[in-house]
Subunit: 379 residues, 2 copies
């Protein structure tokens, strides 16, 4: 075995046993830990543009073929317009809408479906705020494994149409993603379908981690000064933070790690609230409401890990309004030719706030994440 599964909270560690979920001791998330540090010579350029071009950092055994639709390899675009009057502020957007199924969820679910398929899963179930449901539908189809998706009935219609199009059994829930999670657990208990919930199995985060690998590679193996990331479940932020520490430990990188900033919607900002209050746990947000479906996560399972990454990195957390997201979405489309998801537009609004508060400024290199395609929320 190439890796261990280490609990993110307690001292539990084990070899992977197939269909691993959370820590059997304390219920916290398990994280992959590589037994052997990959050699630094491996970091050169490769011809494969998918995230699987980093096999040494991914949970794939020699000779295994991943369940892939070509996820990863998305562009890091320098957007001159976003620096504003501050000429020495360099702003990049990592455009994750160019993934299969139109969002960053493809990375995590490619990794998770790959492992689960190799481990004999016969059915999948997932609660979703939207995009993860599309991705699991598609990767389930690719693996030949049936999928059930629980989504809030408020999910944008184009997202629901895509989930159905890939053949998943879609069940609408009168509630938020937390309610969908309860329904998914019930389904799983009833029929044995494997639960693909965020951080409730250890491989989605490994796929998301490749966001960090790609940013590092695309900046010539130097990290940005700051990262602004929209956090619903937070796997991407947690995954990147994990990745940066792994890369530094393996001497692929040196120097300071980026300041990590979480962005949420004013209508559902449990991480911002906890961060500002100095809490180490995230308390559930009452009555979550936002058009950014991916941010309507009132009680993220990875809340603690997020807060830890924000603090360790010297970053922070910012809430923006839905109307600010819509405004930035429109501006960026007409000015830069990108169709940002509302969650992606939230990072643009957050950048302005962080510049105004002088958390980000002259000389900084900043990476924003557009986690998905805007049309999925609009059509």
């Amino acid at each position: 075995m190439k890796w261990n599964l280490d609990c993110s909270e307690c001292d539990f560690t084990s070899l992977p046993r197939g269909l691993d979920t959370v820590c059997p001791e304390c219920g916290s998330a398990l994280l992959v830990c590589y037994a052997n540090t990959p050699a630094v010579e491996l970091k050169g350029a490769r011809s494969d543009c998918s995230m699987w071009r980093y096999p040494e950092w991914l949970p794939l055994e020699d000779g295994e073929v991943p369940i892939s639709l070509g996820e990863g390899g998305t562009p890091l675009l320098h957007l001159e317009t976003l620096g504003g009057e501050n000429e020495s502020l360099r702003v990049y957007v990592k455009d994750e809408s160019q993934n299969p199924t139109g969002s960053f969820k493809a990375r995590g679910l490619s990794a998770a479906v790959t492992r689960a398929a190799h481990s004999g899963a016969e059915a999948f179930v997932v609660p979703t705020a939207g995009n993860a449901g599309i991705a699991l539908s598609a990767y389930g189809a690719r693996a030949g494994i049936p999928v059930t998706v629980f989504a809030p009935e408020t999910t944008p219609v184009a997202i629901l149409a895509q989930i159905r199009y890939f053949g998943a059994d879609l069940k609408l829930v009168n509630g938020h993603i937390g309610d969908c999670g309860a329904a998914a657990r019930e389904e799983s208990a009833k029929n044995g379908a494997f639960d693909m919930s965020t951080l409730k199995e250890p491989y989605r985060i490994e796929g998301k981690k490749t966001l960090g690998l790609e940013v590092a590679e695309q900046l010539g193996w130097e990290l940005p000064d700051a990262i602004i990331y929209p956090t619903g479940g937070g796997t991407g932020l947690i995954g990147m933070w994990k990745c940066f520490k792994e890369l530094r430990a393996a001497h692929w990188l040196d120097g300071a790690l980026p300041r990590m900033y979480s962005v949420q919607s004013e209508g559902c900002a449990p991480v911002v609230r906890a961060y500002t209050a100095g809490d180490t746990e995230v308390a559930p947000w009452e009555n979550p409401e936002t058009l950014a479906a991916g941010l309507r996560v009132p009680a993220p399972f990875g809340g603690k890990l997020m807060l830890r990454a924000l603090r360790e990195s010297g970053g922070g957390a910012v809430a923006v309004s839905d109307s600010q997201m819509l405004e930035e979405q429109r501006l960026v489309a007409a000015r830069d030719g990108l169709d940002l998801a509302p969650e992606g537009a939230a990072t643009v609004a957050a950048l302005k706030k962080l510049v105004a508060s002088e958390s980000i400024g002259a000389g900084d290199t900043v990476v924003l994440f557009n986690t998905g395609a805007g049309w999925l929320y609009r059509l």
Copy 2:
């Protein structure tokens, strides 16, 4: 200057002069011809995944920055399900839906807008069957140059919505792309907007050519036995054929070139008709009708070049019905997790016909092209 512009039909050749269009002698398409053969040592892997990772094969001067949204670097997916019972038939799909703006049109328009922007264009106009209109809208926005798009009023509504979203001035035409072309020429004559019509300027095809470069690189610098490509305007097919010959001349490749197959809709099959009749020119198709908007091109400007590529390569041309496309679209979504455009689904239907007629068979490696995202035609 790094390249010349050679007429595809007569002996005309010149250095690029900026805003070049067609051959001033005979009105045929101009093609880029590189003055110096790129060194074979350059073909190694690079970290950039966009099509601009092949600068030596693209019309970009040293120090110039392309107008890019990260186009290219799309996956070549091995679809085991498509080989049918024929186990030694290997079938790949090049998934161009993962480009910016959701289609292969991004490649050509990135190249064309780059050159036109560096040459001082102040406005663009384009006739479109759909996807090229979205791409030009977005790349025009990225370049800060206003865009006018003429599209048939039958164009799928999601495509029209995306064109408007990126800020283009969209004008609907009661007719097909040929009628839109006439309207675009009139607009161009009236206000000087640069006409981006397929093959009416020499750079869209250079962008499309990178389809061929990527297929070669992704197959380890060996070409497939056959390529099945949906041809409306045909720039991709012509561009790849150009590319393969360039690569062979530069000793990047050796051995046989692929058999090139054109696929069209039974409701608009001017190339198939001309190929079958042994003609060297493509006569206009009366009353073109197909739900595959990109194939509703009754009189492609590049018809002659297409016929030449099909014959030189020992390939052919096949028409399939709209209902066959819809059937394959559904099958591939539920079985393989890909949301094919109808034009992409047409290549799957064509593969079955070509296998049935024994044009393609055991031992062949075949590449199909999914030129765009299915949702753009459906939502």
